[in-house]
């Protein structure tokens, strides 16, 4: 025996044994919560940016020399890719809102593919750095003699400022790439939910929030790009 009655914002199904509760969506509340979450993400990166700023001012020249070794062209291409992906994300949301489900799915898949392209290019950049012995190795690796002479104490070691630069470069772009991966997986799920019919033109909240997340990842890259590639 099941009956449902609407209690305020809550849909409550009463059965003989128990109540199942479905949160009746308070879209505005969810959006408020999500913006607060985005804020915490921003502060997480904010700490990184603060560390970058402090060490850049302490090692101005060494940061410049190290920055020159980064491939500005690849960085610029990646920036264009991410900006474009933000555009396709908005277009996808717009299409879904106007009822063009198929078009929305095409734009969404384009966004995911652009995210993948970003990761592939990032991978090439990292690989090029590794070839030049610029990578972070673990303590046990160093003990086993596998460490890069450029980054471990010794006659060939780079100056401190450059080591810090590359350390921050790998960790900040790495954390950013992690966010791209999370965003990509989320958009994949959204694609699945649209296909399944649980995200519809009347119910675009989840797509909208995954879009907000994606724009945040984009905005962070917009700051990473000039700080690492352009201020050389």
């Amino acid at each position: 025996m099941q009956r449902s009655l609407l209690v305020s914002r809550w849909e409550v199904h009463v059965t003989d044994q128990a109540h199942t509760v479905e949160h009746h969506h308070d879209e505005e509340g969810t959006r408020l919560g999500f913006w607060l979450f985005l804020y915490t993400e921003l502060f997480l990166f904010g700490a990184f940016f603060l560390v970058y700023a402090v060490y850049r001012s302490a090692h101005v020249d060494e940061f410049k020399i190290a920055a020159e070794s980064l491939n500005t062209t690849l960085g610029a291409v990646n920036t264009i890719i991410l900006l474009t992906s933000s555009l396709t994300m908005v277009l996808s949301l717009d299409a879904l809102k106007s009822g063009a489900v198929k078009l929305a799915k095409i734009f969404l898949i384009t966004t995911i593919l652009l995210g993948l392209a970003f990761l592939v290019i990032k991978g090439f950049e990292w690989a090029a750095k590794f070839e030049h012995h610029l990578f972070l190795q673990t303590a046990s690796g160093i003990a086993a003699g596998e460490g890069s002479p450029l980054l471990t104490p010794g006659p060939e070691m780079l100056p401190n400022g450059q080591v810090l630069f590359f350390g921050l470069y790998f960790i900040m772009t790495g954390t950013h790439a992690l966010h791209i991966i999370i965003g990509g997986i989320w958009m994949g799920l959204v694609y699945y939910w649209i296909s399944k019919g649980s995200i519809t033109p009347d119910n675009t909240g989840v797509l909208e929030r995954s879009g907000l997340y994606w724009h945040l990842v984009d905005v962070i890259w917009i700051f990473l790009f000039p700080l690492y590639y352009l201020v050389a």
């Binding site: 044994q17 509760v21 408020l32």
Partner: protein, 565 residues
């Protein structure tokens, strides 16, 4: 049908799948059940950390020359680290907001649950996961960095290999703290949205009870401050694993930068700990004085301004570690400034007592002890906030006593008082008032006997974190007094916890709605509360502490009063 709806939350469930035993709690999205689960876990950890503290005090009973050794020197660091991590991250930060905030925030504002019930459960799981991780980590490898994880020591220290396994327990603990941080952030977001979106009709912001106000200020701090420390702790993990010297001066890094990033969270964190307890005291005192609270708005605004100013004073932890004179003076000034809203609250509480009809319930005793202890804690904080005395008192037992007066004598006493206040409502069981009061006397006397001598010890130069001390008469006497105080305190803690456990198992059942005759909304529902808190849609027509209107409502049969009148 209606009957099923109106059952106690202890007998009804949010899911059809999990309706029995352990899983009906562990999978429940009901804010009340989640609050109760936090209560059990946090107080379990609290008791464990009290035992650690008991042994640390026992170790200090006799000076080094006597040959007295309870804890080996190399273990002492791990003892106080584990004590601090449990007390701070597992007990007092989640304590009041997660137990009583979860349980009573929706009840106080007339909501059916928090805004994101499933995220709320996720917060609890994150908390539990991080807590187990932290405790397992320390048991497997020890960690003697102190809870502040200050580099370079936290980077260079090696784990103690207990079972012959190579286990990096420091990185493990840091990761655990990161996970715990996400639990707190999600709780904070949840409460902010709940307060903004789910208040009952007529419940304006300035009609919210003061506990809700304090939770609101706390939530903002949790959201604003926690991400920074999370990423900072991860940087230490990275520095331990990879050769990047973010905070290592020999590699171009700056260890003082770590301290800034750490205290930018961890100073606001002390307000995360104290604000909810201040809120609880603001509930207990008007109830047990049967009077409107003095200066309602000023207490509400003081909560928010403590949070705002408290965010800007982190560097007063670093007066001795290197900072420009200008910055030091500025931080000192702001530190004094934050005392103003705090003092306003203390003034308002005492003014509420004036000409009140005071009942000394156990909750009220703890609330009054809160004011006494917290005043000592706050005033000794002024000693430390002034630059010259801080140089003398820094890193001594004076600081240890100061923050125990605020965190234990303040925050924890307030929380325990809050639990005594709300216990009958939460469980529908009554505890022994007499034993609760006996427990209070032991805790209050023991607490002051333990920590007041430590203020002296610190003033005479006893450094903190030391495993033992030289044979000097003044040290010997004060340390002995402090150790004896710890025995009384532990007895008090055991009595209080036993009172609760006994009441849960064998306590007298009560369905009295409003045992303390309180005017706030959370008492106007069944005891224990029903699954969705209130039977009908609510319309709030008066201020929370308007006792005159409340007494009139009770006389007219519109509200449920208490038996005490």
């Amino acid at each position: 049908m209606e009957k099923a709806m109106n059952q106690s939350y202890l007998n009804s469930h949010t899911s059809t799948k999990w309706t029995k035993g352990f899983m009906s709690w562990f999978m429940s999205t009901d804010h009340k059940r989640i609050g109760v689960m936090y209560a059990f876990t946090t107080f379990f950890f609290f008791f464990g950390a009290v035992i650690l503290g008991f042994f640390m005090k026992l170790q200090k009973m006799y000076p080094a020359s006597s040959g007295w050794e309870i804890i080996p020197a190399e273990w002492y660091g791990s003892f106080f680290t584990l004590h601090a991590i449990i007390m701070i991250f597992l007990f007092i930060i989640p304590g009041a907001p997660a137990i009583l905030g979860n349980f009573f925030l929706p009840l106080q504002i007339g909501a059916k649950d928090v805004a994101f019930p499933r995220v709320n459960l996720l917060s609890f799981w994150l908390y539990l996961f991080g807590a187990v991780m932290a405790v397992v980590g320390v048991l497997l490898g020890g960690a003697d960095t102190g809870w502040t994880f200050t580099p370079p020591y936290s980077v260079t220290t090696k784990s103690i290999s207990l079972f012959g396994i190579d286990f990096d327990s420091v990185s493990w603990m840091l990761t655990a703290a990161f996970i715990l941080g996400w639990g707190t952030i999600l709780t904070g977001i949840n409460f902010i949205v709940t307060i903004h979106r789910m208040r009952a009709r007529g419940m304006g912001l300035f009609r919210m009870p003061l506990f809700t106000w304090s939770i609101y200020a706390t939530s903002w701090l949790q959201v604003l401050a926690t991400p920074v420390v999370g990423i900072t702790l991860l940087m230490i993990v990275i520095e331990r694993m990879l050769p990047v010297g973010f905070f290592d001066p020999t590699k171009g890094g700056d260890p003082i930068l770590f301290q800034h990033l750490f205290w930018i969270y961890s100073h606001p964190a002390v307000y995360i700990m104290i604000l909810p307890s201040m809120g609880l005291v603001s509930e207990i005192i008007p109830t047990n004085s049967q009077k409107p609270i003095f200066g309602y708005k000023s207490i509400a605004i003081a909560s928010v301004s403590i949070a705002a100013v408290g965010y800007l004073i982190w560097a007063h932890h670093m007066f001795t570690t290197g900072m420009s004179d200008f910055a030091a003076v500025l931080f000192s000034f702001l530190t004094f400034f934050v005392a103003i809203p705090t003092a306003i609250k203390v003034f308002n509480w005492t003014a509420t007592l004036y000409k009140g009809s005071i009942t000394l319930t156990p909750a009220m005793l703890f609330a009054l002890a809160f004011i006494f202890n917290f005043s000592i804690g706050g005033l000794t904080g002024m000693f430390l906030g002034s630059l010259s005395t801080d140089i003398h008192l820094h890193d001594t037992d004076f600081i240890v006593a100061h923050f125990h007066y605020t965190m234990f004598g303040g925050a924890a006493f307030g929380l325990i008082g809050g639990i005594f206040h709300y216990f009958p409502k939460m469980f529908g069981k009554m505890y022994s008032l007499l034993w609760a009061k006996i427990g209070f006397v032991f805790m209050f006397v023991g607490f002051n006997a333990l920590y007041f001598p430590m203020l002296w010890l610190g003033y005479y130069g006893m450094p903190r974190r030391y495993h033992t001390y030289p044979d000097i008469p003044i040290f010997n006497d004060l340390q002995m007094a402090s150790t004896i105080g710890s025995w009384i305190l532990v007895t008090g803690v055991i009595i209080v916890l036993s009172v609760w456990i006994h009441a849960l198992l064998k306590g007298k059942r009560t369905s009295e709605q409003n045992p303390w005759n309180s005017s706030t909304l959370e008492w106007q529902t069944a005891t224990p509360p029903i699954l969705f808190n209130f039977e009908e849609e609510l319309e709030i027509t008066r201020d929370p502490y308007d006792y005159e209107a409340f007494h009139a409502e009770v006389a007219a049969g519109k509200s449920v009063g208490g038996s005490r009148d």
